[in-house]
């Protein structure tokens, strides 16, 4: 009896051991994971693909390559895990982007989700990032409501500022030039009928008034406008020395062309998204000189220089000189936060809120989950889109005004 019992016992023990042994590797993989899953849904097709194609996607791809080339994401214990990417195409549809993020969070159970492109889409997915506890490093979203959003979604980060920031900076540049006697105190202003254009122009109106600049022409045009003959003519006739357009790339290009065709030479020419694209400088050559826009680069910053070189090397094209830098920097922040705090999303979020990071855009410390140290105004000078405002920030270049007249090409 005893023997038998013992034998039974032994048998049970043996079985348990086998079970344990079998279970052990599972536990081990859960702990010693072989990769970090990073997911994103961006518009690879549809109306938003143009914006995604320059500002968002190349930087996501570059970052993943950079990280994986270096052996993966570094964790607090010094080990490195390669990034495994799960990507979806939201086809420029709000419903798709919402569902894709749900899928990334609950189906693919990725470790981190990178944000989509555009103010609207970032807002559409913000409740989901919040619900599933993912930090949302919203870059391509210019909004003055960021403080409100941070209250609502405490893991959301708004890195491209709001319309007020850009409008105020521009107003300062204009008011300075005006008081210097370089330009008169009138501005002609147009804006695209879109969240971006409206946000900026509503901020610009009071900003101009406060800066003592009179808005003599102020119209909004629908996205997709291809002909700006009348707009340019009216602006020319308005007597303003400054022409400001809060525009999107296709219209930015069209406005530049039309201004040249009509020989419209405002002393300040400030255009919207697209001006900071390298192709803009290339297309317009010497005629780009003096044209201003949002963003800008501190060309003397070595990290930034390295970033641009890498971007060109890996993606085959130069980055745009506004959103791209911030996009890549936001990923560097994420990378660094993971290095400091591991893969725990709450800890990483906490680090993002409170930490200080060295990035391609310089040293970044978020204030109330928002990036406040931004280059707000840039200007093409000598073939480079340099940052000119805020003037008190290190690396700022002095704006050259008035813009020189168009040259025949």
């Amino acid at each position: 009896m005893t023997t038998i019992t013992r034998r039974h016992a032994l048998r049970y023990l043996g079985a348990s051991a086998i079970l344990l042994a079998a279970a052990a590797p599972i536990a081990a993989t859960a702990d010693d994971r072989t990769s970090v899953k990073i997911g994103y849904a961006v518009s690879k097709t549809g109306g938003n693909a143009g914006g995604v194609g320059i500002t968002t996607l190349p930087n996501y791809e570059l970052w993943v390559k950079d990280v994986n080339d270096a052996g993966g994401l570094e964790l607090p214990d010094g080990t490195r895990l390669p990034i495994e990417v799960i990507e979806y195409d939201d086809r420029s549809s709000a419903e798709e982007v919402v569902r894709s993020v749900e899928r990334l969070a609950t189906q693919d159970e990725v470790d981190f989700i990178l944000p989509p492109w555009g103010t609207g889409f970032n807002l559409a997915v913000a409740p989901l990032f919040d619900r599933y506890g993912y930090p949302q490093l919203a870059v391509s979203a210019v909004t003055d409501k960021a403080p409100e959003f941070v209250k609502r979604w405490d893991k959301s980060y708004w890195l491209l500022g709001g319309g007020h920031d850009y409008a105020d900076a521009l107003a300062k540049v204009l008011s300075k030039a005006s008081s210097d006697g370089t330009i008169n105190s009138k501005v002609a202003m147009i804006s695209v009928a879109d969240g971006f254009g409206i946000d900026l122009v509503t901020a610009a109106r009071p900003a101009m008034e406060n800066a003592g600049i009179e808005v003599v022409y102020d119209v909004t045009y629908p996205a997709g406008t291809t002909d700006f003959t009348s707009v340019i003519n009216e602006a020319a006739a308005s007597g303003a020395d400054s022409f400001v357009a809060f525009s999107y790339p296709p219209e930015t290009f069209a406005l530049t062309q039309q201004a040249q065709v009509a020989n419209f030479n405002p002393k300040v020419l400030y255009l919207g998204v697209g001006t900071a694209f390298p192709v803009y400088g290339k297309n317009n050559g010497a005629n780009a000189e003096g044209i201003m826009s949002l963003g800008g680069i501190d060309y003397n910053n070595p990290e930034n220089m390295a970033y641009r070189a890498r971007h060109e090397e890996v993606t085959g094209k130069a980055p745009d000189l506004w959103g791209s830098v911030i996009t890549y920097s936001s990923l560097q922040m994420l990378q660094e936060a993971i290095k400091r705090r591991g893969l725990d999303r709450d800890a990483v979020s906490d680090e993002l809120s409170n930490g200080t990071f060295q990035t391609a855009a310089g040293e970044i410390t978020l204030e109330d989950n928002q990036l406040r140290t931004l280059w707000l105004t840039g200007q093409w000078q000598d073939g480079k889109f340099v940052a000119v405002a805020p003037t008190d920030r290190d690396g700022a270049t002095v704006p050259i005004l008035p813009k020189s007249a168009w040259q025949a090409q």
Binding site: T45, G46, G50, G53, L57, D227, P250, V261, Q409
Partner: protein
């Protein structure tokens, strides 16, 4: 002011007309609704961009290469994709549905290929971007070229269609594809030719437009819809109608921008389109038959 607006409108309208003529031929004569029309335009724009940017070939010269390529492409698409559908469809209504569905697929294929090759970026380059004085108004040379091309092609094709035997053949097919064989016309060949011709016109339009308009791999749909509106407004299959409708839309856009508000230009285009259709349900030059 008035003169400037007028000329700017004509020039803008010229490019609308140019972009619509190929579609009106494809839809009016070959009887196939080609939703991938805009993709042909964009593909040609990319081709022109590549030739200019990488090989330094001017878009004008590029036109000589790309337009025939557009013809060949149209010829192949009709032969491979549309012909079996035409043969299968028992009436124009089924053919219409089938061609909508099939070219919808084609749209995605072309767009997808362009996305893979070029990515989703905005493409823009400057060519012939200088002002030309016309009656005291400065107009962009590249846009003027578009207007010139629209008038030349429109006029040339009009003469071809009305004055030649070959044109009569095409028109006969347009009016009654079923009866054409009875008078010894190879309807299939004529339709295929018309479709290919439409492709060549789309390509020409794409090349010219690429000189001044920013485009992406995804923007084909915009061109298709704009072209469709011009075609419908002018009357399906009617070249003069397309030209006229294009000019009207161009003029209304510039006049609204100048005298009402630039914010309402696109709305005005649609209002005018809708009102014209309500007054003339078969377009400006179309005939309503009982």
């Amino acid at each position: 002011m008035l003169m400037t607006t007028l000329i700017a409108g004509l020039v803008l309208g010229g490019s609308y007309a140019l972009l619509a003529m190929g579609l009106t031929i494809q839809y009016g004569i070959a009887r196939t609704m080609n939703l991938a029309y805009g993709e042909t335009i964009i593909a040609s724009a990319f081709a022109a961009y590549l030739l200019y940017n990488n090989l330094g070939i001017s878009p004008i010269l590029g036109l000589v290469i790309i337009a025939p390529a557009g013809f060949v492409f149209g010829w192949l698409v009709y032969g491979i994709l549309m012909r079996p559908l035409v043969a299968r469809s028992e009436n124009t209504a089924t053919l219409e549905i089938n061609s909508i569905l099939a070219t919808f697929g084609l749209l995605f294929v072309i767009q997808g290929v362009m996305l893979v090759i070029f990515g989703g970026n905005y493409i823009s380059y400057n060519y012939l971007n200088f002002g030309v004085e016309i009656i005291g108004v400065r107009v962009a040379a590249n846009r003027l070229l578009a207007l010139g091309l629209a008038l030349t092609i429109g006029g040339g094709l009009y003469l071809l269609l009305t004055r030649t035997r070959w044109g009569t053949t095409l028109r006969a097919v347009a009016v009654n594809p079923a009866a054409a064989p009875l008078v010894g016309i190879d309807a299939n060949r004529a339709a295929r030719f018309a479709f290919a011709l439409g492709g060549a016109l789309a390509s020409s339009g794409g090349v010219v437009v690429s000189m001044y308009q920013t485009f992406t791999a995804s923007s084909g749909v915009i061109f298709t819809m704009k072209a469709l509106i011009v075609v419908i407004m002018g009357g399906v299959g009617n070249l003069a109608g397309a030209l006229f409708a294009g000019l009207i839309l161009g003029l209304s856009e510039t006049f609204v921008a100048a005298y009402i508000s630039p914010g309402l230009t696109i709305a005005a285009v649609y209002i005018i389109f809708l009102v014209i259709l309500l007054c003339r349900p078969a377009g400006l030059f179309g005939k309503v038959q009982k």
